[in-house]
């Protein structure tokens, strides 16, 4: 990282004649700014912007893997609208992204309020509750895969031994139960993100504000309602929008738990695009499935951008 030697005053003085123009370039704000943006921008152009436009082109063709096809207009998109699996996939994606958010937000708020108290071992506890969010999701999903297993599920074992059920539950076996199980695992993963983000917001509330409100006779609920809530409203909204975007475009949790099964009933856009685009090699149709996500992602991205701009 220490490249400073290259630009030491001595070197610059010695070389002033020969590299005068380079030095000038590195000192003018406009040119230096652009030079510094270049390496990152180049990577983003080649591996993000270009594939995005290539994806739009692919979605307008009947390409299969290894064979660039013909331009067919919007046929991939219109065919998908009449595909019952795609319609189910769309419904699943919305359930998965929207239904889980209130649970994550409320439980995350609860977690933040608890962690905001002074207590012993607060650092190890914070590190511990972050684990679902930070460890590889594909690996923790394997834990859930076993927790939901029709034979080995510890939940089934517990309920059976308590005499509440007679048969093991097949958590990932039927469509509705499978979606609920998937949502539970997703909520589990998302709570710490909300929790830690809201905690950061809570810690920005000056303690004096609470004390002043308490002196004015405000009870616990009133302080929560009129001091805490306004202070964290912003971070909760930001966290919710990010969470919707990420969950909407998720892949790995469902790939590990059900691969979209049973009978294609638990796909979301990401896993269905993978199945059609790679497993079935219809990369044009797959690209179209991915692109169906775009309007919704763009909507939330712009909402977030407007909100952040207004706050700033």
């Amino acid at each position: 990282m220490d490249r400073s030697g290259d630009f030491s005053p001595v070197a610059v003085v010695q070389d002033r004649g020969s590299i005068f123009s380079l030095k000038g370039l590195m000192e003018r704000q406009a040119s230096l700014g652009i030079i510094l943006m270049l390496p990152g921008a180049l990577l983003l152009m080649v591996f993000m912007a270009y594939p995005f436009f290539l994806g739009i082109w692919l979605s307008l063709t009947d390409s299969i893997i290894g064979n660039i096809g013909q331009y067919i207009g919007l046929r991939n998109f219109s065919d998908l609208i009449t595909d019952s699996v795609f319609l189910q996939t769309t419904r699943n994606t919305f359930i998965y992204a929207l239904v889980t958010v209130p649970f994550k937000a409320v439980l995350g708020l609860g977690m933040a309020l608890v962690l905001n108290n002074r207590m012993r071992f607060s650092n190890p506890i914070r590190a511990a509750v972050m684990m679902p969010w930070i460890v590889p999701t594909a690996l923790s999903s394997l834990g859930w895969f076993m927790i939901f297993d029709p034979v080995f599920s510890p939940i089934s074992w517990l309920l059976k031994n308590l005499g509440l059920i007679k048969q093991n539950i097949n958590f990932l076996g039927g469509p509705n139960l499978a979606i609920s199980s998937i949502c539970l695992a997703n909520i589990w993963r998302g709570i710490p993100f909300f929790g830690i983000t809201i905690l950061a917001g809570l810690q920005a509330v000056p303690q004096e504000l609470h004390e002043a409100a308490a002196i004015d006779g405000a009870g616990l609920w009133h302080r929560f309602r009129h001091v805490t809530i306004p202070a964290i409203k912003g971070v909760v909204l930001i966290a919710a929008m990010l969470s919707i975007i990420w969950t909407f475009a998720d892949f790995q949790l469902i790939y590990v738990l059900t691969k979209g099964g049973p009978a294609n009933t638990t796909h979301i856009f990401g896993t269905y695009a993978y199945q059609i685009g790679l497993s079935a090699t219809e990369i044009g149709t797959g690209a179209a499935i991915s692109l169906y996500m775009f309007p919704i992602l763009a909507f939330f991205a712009i909402l977030l951008l407007i909100y952040l701009r207004r706050e700033a």
Binding site: S4, L142, G286
Partner: protein
């Protein structure tokens, strides 16, 4: 809390909910760990309590190292994560500095562009990106991931660092430049040493995302010995018979361990980085 804290009230309002969160959030890890430490036959024996280890064994871990490509996956994951993190951090320091300190044409537009790039998910791009990777001849090479991961890392790391750089008083730089330092010298000698916490949280963020990434690794590294830990575990250790649980969970535990340790040490930086970069930025 303003006075009047009895132990009873603390238990009800803090310790009980805390116990619930710890139990719910940590149970899957507990479960994975105990399954990985049991002999396979114990799993099938219904008279044993499944929440405890009756006969402790490390055979699942030994199996992982002796009979699978797990050691290769570890090597691949480390190389890819380290190189990709270094590349992303370098790019992000430059971008963060340029956006925080320099006025240049299009800087506002580029700032918004970088922010939007943060919101572009891999599932939107993976199919066309697979074509790009294959036409560049990068399939099953480290470069496939080393070059594509930064697109997921640079946006957030740049924003985080930009937020951090802006908290450093401009006067320090101005006096250094009055003493003859060039702009790049002030970046390397003054700003970066003052930004160590920001660099640490950006670095941890990048490393974690590389280590955890699944979709690109699944598609671009399909040959056995080139896989990363998450992909190798999910695609190679689940077998048709039912005797795989022990080694599967052992691999999941080992693959999660480095990240868990990293966060236990740096949780403070992570939270402060989040406050400085993500929330305020």
């Amino acid at each position: 809390m303003v006075g009047g804290d009895t132990l009873g009230r603390r238990t009800l309002s803090i310790y009980l909910p805390l116990a619930f969160f710890l139990l719910f959030l940590l149970f899957p890890f507990y479960w994975m760990s105990i399954v990985s430490l049991k002999p396979t036959n114990d799993l099938f024996d219904l008279k044993f309590n499944p929440f405890w280890v009756q006969h402790f064994t490390l055979e699942n871990y030994l199996y992982l190292f002796q009979n699978t490509e797990f050691p290769e996956w570890v090597k691949n994951t480390i190389i890819i994560s380290v190189v990709s993190t270094a590349l992303s951090l370098t790019c992000s320091v430059f971008i963060g500095y340029a956006l925080a300190r320099l006025r240049f044409p299009g800087s506002n537009f580029l700032g918004v562009g970088i922010f939007l790039a943060y919101l572009v998910p891999p599932t939107l791009l993976f199919l066309p990106l697979a074509q790009v990777i294959s036409s560049l001849g990068l399939y099953n090479t480290y470069w496939a991931l080393i070059l594509t991961y930064p697109t997921q890392l640079i946006p957030f790391a740049s924003w985080l660092l930009m937020g951090y750089f802006r908290t450093i008083p401009k006067e320090i730089e101005e006096s250094a430049m009055a003493d003859g330092c060039t702009r790049l010298e002030t970046l390397f000698r003054i700003i970066l040493p003052l930004s160590v916490p920001g660099l640490l949280s950006a670095g941890i963020f990048c490393f974690t995302l590389c280590w955890n990434e699944f979709l690109y690794a699944l598609i671009f590294m399909s040959s056995g010995p080139m896989k990363t830990i998450p992909v190798g575990t999910v695609s190679d250790l689940i077998k048709a018979d039912t005797l795989f649980w022990g080694s599967l969970m052992a691999s999941a535990v080992l693959g999660s361990f480095p990240i868990a340790i990293l966060y236990s040490f740096f949780v403070k930086y992570y939270v402060s980085g989040l406050t400085a970069g993500a929330v305020k930025g």
